[in-house]
Point group: C2
Chain length 226, copies 2
Amino acid sequence: MKTMTKGISQSTQDYLKNIYELTEQGASASTNDLATRLGIAPASVTGMVQKLASATPPLVDYRKHQGATLTKEGQRAALEIIRHHRLLETWLVQTLGFSWDEVHEEACRLEHVISEDFETRMAAALGHPTRDPHGELIPGADLQMPDDDSTPLSSLRPPQDATIIRVNAIDPALLRHLDELGLIPGADLSISAHSPFDGNISIKVDDREFVVGPAISNNIFVEIGG
Amino acid sequence: MKTMTKGISQSTQDYLKNIYELTEQGASASTNDLATRLGIAPASVTGMVQKLASATPPLVDYRKHQGATLTKEGQRAALEIIRHHRLLETWLVQTLGFSWDEVHEEACRLEHVISEDFETRMAAALGHPTRDPHGELIPGADLQMPDDDSTPLSSLRPPQDATIIRVNAIDPALLRHLDELGLIPGADLSISAHSPFDGNISIKVDDREFVVGPAISNNIFVEIGG
DNA sequence: AATAATATTTAGGTATGCCTAAATATTCTA
DNA sequence: TAGAATATTTAGGCATACCTAAATATTATT
Ligand SMILES: [Mn+2]
Ligand SMILES: [Mn+2]
Ligand SMILES: [Mn+2]
Ligand SMILES: [Mn+2]
């Protein structure tokens, strides 16, 4: 049993998903960054990326020392997996009571083995959600990724108000910390201070006030205006 | 953290599960029967069974030309997967509206990748069921397989009455056929005739009467007395 | 612009789990 | 009970996806 979706191996799916995420901001995905994210030696990544580039059809564009980007085919496959992942996270939270720090790892294993029928039923049961428990956008059944018009929390200045839309994190410890602070999607907040050199900002949420550094605020995305 | 239960690969899990099922009636699992069930060449099965026998700890007992049986360790691993499989089937039917002919294949893929936490939550959400949608017994969290005291439908004679407990089938077409006939767990039936040479029996279910041959009746298990 | 630091690729291996063909053992049949 | 049929094992390969060490290319520093 090969555990593959359309002849694309689980391993390949992980490469494509990570290349998608690394190239979302424009640049191409470097060997090293991929190696770090995948927990694989850089040399192995080179080999794999070369293979993906010479597959038929090619799944990535690749030139030596230039990193990889997805072809149309590769992007389709990546979005397919990302849709699975995010629907699964949503579903695990809603139907089995997982918390948002527990679902990532589980979804990472399940995303490769569910059928299209499973995906369809899950989406319908959830009411065709557009965001997962972290606020990440879920590609549609047509594999179009919706636009994200959110702003990094780190770019806000007092006395702006905002609502949290999305939290870009997978580390369970960080997610639990954010949960304790009330920094979760849907939370309304206001900025009460900003320190210029360290980038810290003071935030008021749920009548509590505290300071967060850029390591946190760069990964929280908001809609401005409370 | 890999996709494995105690470092046991997906492939190994499938071998153990199938050896369990083949040895349930007492005999050891032959290379050929395993090959057929796994869809793998007999030569490959030999190699794999040899490896499982010399693993530490050994997962199967094996002597040349004598087939394989499970060690305690192997049985534990098999029951773990079977529990996953049957809970998943139950869950897919109850929460996503899959029909009983669609769940086997899906469960076969999911059974290897869900966490113990997932298993625990699923069992609780379902109310700790003891049988899956086909009536197959679900091993407990302690990995004990409950006793099955059901009788093959083929052994009944007119004018006995019985209730269907369990249907031992995975072929979707057969399962749909049985569903149409009303031969599903919980159905009350009575035997109206038996033909001695072909083993056919006439059954009345839901005010409908029809004849089934041994290919079907050998795989339906009942509790005698309507 | 040369050198140092970093990133990437190449080369040579390994483990898993499968395959086919050929050899051998077991079981059936006459 | 010998030969035929069937079942099983051995031998030799292959694909996937990883690894480490060494070579090379790129980028940053002086
Ligand atoms: Mn899909
Ligand atoms: Mn998420
Ligand atoms: Mn388990
Ligand atoms: Mn079942």
